[in-house]
């Protein structure tokens, strides 16, 4: 029993990061109908920016990060993420013009590759220690399961982001963004600055990505080039599809579901001593295929 509580606790921790990455994906998709493969690197690059702030801008040394600076470093990371998001829209996405969704996915995959390569060249292909805001954990009442405080921090951050987004979509700019997504031409006629709204969505996605990057690096307590893309992106993609690709709530629910499913897959293979390598990747593929073949609009999405 306790192992399964542990599965849920770990699943929630990973799932919350999937959810944060997924929210950025869903936001950009909602606003511009583009699935952004570079969302993961919108997390890793700001996480490196945070690391720079905490180590006094030492790019390749072994300077240990100063945990006391984590809060200002996170603020810097979020700003870097937002800037990077807007830059990505202005420099790459807008000049692309009206192309098929697959072509824009390919373009953002190119951006992800570009950013990862820059990280490798600036920071070298090795792991750097990355602090958590709160260390240690506590016993879950009535069990021996230890819950990391970091899990609580991630869940709180996710809840805060969800509330902020919910409030945003009820405000005037939020409605303008929804209008842009629904019908850009009609929105423009109503005086909505369509281009600016799209840039705003990309900027917000960058800020969300930065948060996911800083907290995700905290999960492993280390940061390597390409970290968010290689560890969180594909489950986050699948979570977004599972939740319904344009649904914000769906992105979070899907993220949690994927977190628990991949953790459960690892546990099942260990418990029954099955000789199956890569259980999380297998689980992700199975979930993705099951959703696409049985309920392509996702759990909470409207039919496309």
């Amino acid at each position: 029993m306790e192992t399964w509580i542990e599965v849920v606790v770990f699943g929630l921790q990973r799932g919350a990061i999937f959810g944060l990455v997924g929210l950025g994906l869903a936001l950009v998709y909602k606003a511009t109908r583009i699935l952004n493969f570079a969302q993961g690197e919108l997390g890793t690059v700001p996480a490196f920016a945070a690391l720079m702030v905490m180590t006094g801008f030492e790019t390749v040394g072994d300077e240990v990060a100063d945990r006391g600076l984590l809060l200002p470093a996170t603020v810097v990371a979020v700003l870097v993420g937002a800037l990077l998001g807007v830059l990505l829209y202005v420099v790459v996405i807008r000049p692309l013009g009206k192309v098929s969704p697959v072509t824009s996915l390919v373009a953002t995959a190119g951006v992800a590759l570009l950013l990862t390569t820059i990280e490798i060249n600036v920071f070298e292909a090795r792991a750097r220690r990355f602090p958590r805001p709160v260390n240690g954990g506590f016993d879950l009442p009535g069990t021996d399961v230890i819950v990391d405080w970091h899990t609580v921090v991630i869940l709180a951050a996710l809840a805060g982001v969800a509330l902020a987004l919910a409030a945003f979509f009820r405000s005037a700019p939020g409605v303008a963004l929804l209008a842009t997504a629904e019908d850009p031409f009609a929105a423009e006629l109503q005086g909505v600055p369509v281009e600016r709204m799209r840039a705003l969505a990309w900027g917000a996605a960058g800020a969300l990505g930065a948060l996911a990057g800083v907290l995700g690096a905290g999960v492993f307590e280390s940061l390597t080039p390409g970290l968010v893309t290689s560890t969180f992106m594909i489950p986050a993609f699948t979570g977004v599809v599972l939740g319904g690709i344009t649904s914000m709530v769906g992105a979070v629910v899907g993220g949690f579901a994927l977190g628990i499913v991949s953790q459960a897959a690892i546990q099942i293979v260990t418990t029954y001593e099955l000789d199956v390598p890569g259980p999380p990747q297998l689980a992700v593929l199975v979930v993705l295929l099951a959703v696409l073949l049985m309920r392509p609009q996702g759990l909470l999405g409207r039919s496309a």
């Binding site: 697959v102 190119g110 590759l113 390569t117 390598p277 890569g278 999380p280 593929l285 993705l288 696409l292």
Partner: protein, 342 residues
């Protein structure tokens, strides 16, 4: 026709140049030439899916890996001769592609792209980790055929197979099924209204692509004579996509050049970094290679959607027997490209 002689002369010179390369390249780099030929084969495989049928593939390294491991298993565990192992690699590649093609019948566009990514990761982490088939972390040995033991000889074998695949691709686009596959790219419903069996031809495109990639994998396995799962990651799949798009999806000569370019780029950067002591080369080491590829991709998508083939449009048209003009109608059968509007 007086224009025919210079054209044949140029084609002959190009052929001689290609055949001379394995002779003149220094021994340490000969395997790069073999790899370039294999990447050319993979690019043609990608081209059938991306360029002709209009499907996305972000997990193509999985097909190369499936072929490489199948060939390695057939050679090492079953003691098959090289030709038979290559046939096994092609068949296994076809089978894997058929599975993915079945999914592509129900799932299209963006979602199919996601499935191919997840499939690639599944292949890398699960399939290629099954120790009894792939040798696990140690890798699967794959010996070369006795006739082509040497590096130069094996390189000629790879180049020869590349030419055979080009020939096959050329005949494919000239046949009815080949044209039917290309009709799918523009609009499946219109294709169906012309009486084209969409299901069968989509599956055919996947099977052909998987078969070519399987052969490429079989050849790839014996370049280093050992196959390990680290060779077939997501970044390789993205490289394959980059070389297809940068080469010019839909144009066989374009994608082959794209494949060769991305195969030699790391070595090229190493050499320029070591030998040229002026600015860009002093900073550009081989680790920058993916960044250069990515920038080429973004420039291609925003400025030249037809890739290398578009920029060589006039030359390719002339070599193919047409006039020396970039007018896209002059070589109409090879259009498309990633920029093709939906």
């Amino acid at each position: 026709m007086s224009a025919r002689l210079p054209r044949l002369a140029v084609l002959g010179l190009l052929l001689l140049l290609v055949l001379a390369i394995p002779q003149v390249v220094p021994g340490v780099y000969i395997n790069v030439v073999a790899r370039a030929a294999v990447y050319g084969i993979v690019a043609l495989s990608m081209n059938v899916l991306v360029g002709y049928a209009g499907q996305a593939s972000l997990g193509h390294a999985a097909f190369l890996g499936v072929g490489a491991f199948a060939s390695g298993y057939a050679l090492t565990e079953m003691g098959m001769p090289f030709g038979a192992a290559l046939a096994v690699a092609a068949l296994v590649g076809m089978a894997a592609a058929l599975v993915l093609g079945g999914v592509a019948l129900r799932v299209t566009g963006l979602y199919l792209a996601l499935v191919t990514i997840a499939f690639g990761l599944f292949a890398q982490e699960t399939l290629f980790n099954i120790r009894s088939l792939t040798g696990g972390g140690a890798g699967q040995p794959a010996a070369r055929p006795s006739l082509f033991q040497g590096d130069v000889a094996y390189t000629y074998l790879c180049v020869g197979v590349l030419f055979l695949v080009i020939l096959f691709d050329w005949r494919l686009t000239a046949t009815r099924p080949g044209r039917a596959i290309q009709a799918l790219r523009d609009d499946e419903r219109v294709a169906a209204s012309w009486g084209i069996d969409v299901t069968a031809h989509k599956l055919l495109a996947f099977v052909i692509s998987g078969g070519i990639a399987g052969i490429g994998g079989g050849l790839f396995a014996s370049i280093e004579q050992i196959v390990s799962k680290e060779d077939f990651g997501l970044s390789l799949s993205i490289t394959f996509l980059l070389m297809t798009v940068v080469g010019g999806a839909g144009n066989r000569w374009g994608v082959v050049q794209g494949g060769i370019l991305f195969a030699v780029l790391p070595t090229l950067l190493d050499r320029t970094h070591a030998n040229f002591h002026v600015f860009p080369f002093t900073e550009l080491t081989a680790t920058w290679e993916p960044a250069i590829g990515a920038v080429l991709l973004l420039l291609t998508l925003t400025m030249f959607p037809g890739g290398i083939a578009q920029q060589q449009g006039a030359l390719l048209s002339w070599l193919g027997g047409g006039p020396f003009t970039r007018d896209p109608d002059a070589h109409a059968p090879q259009g498309g490209g990633m920029g093709a509007r939906p």
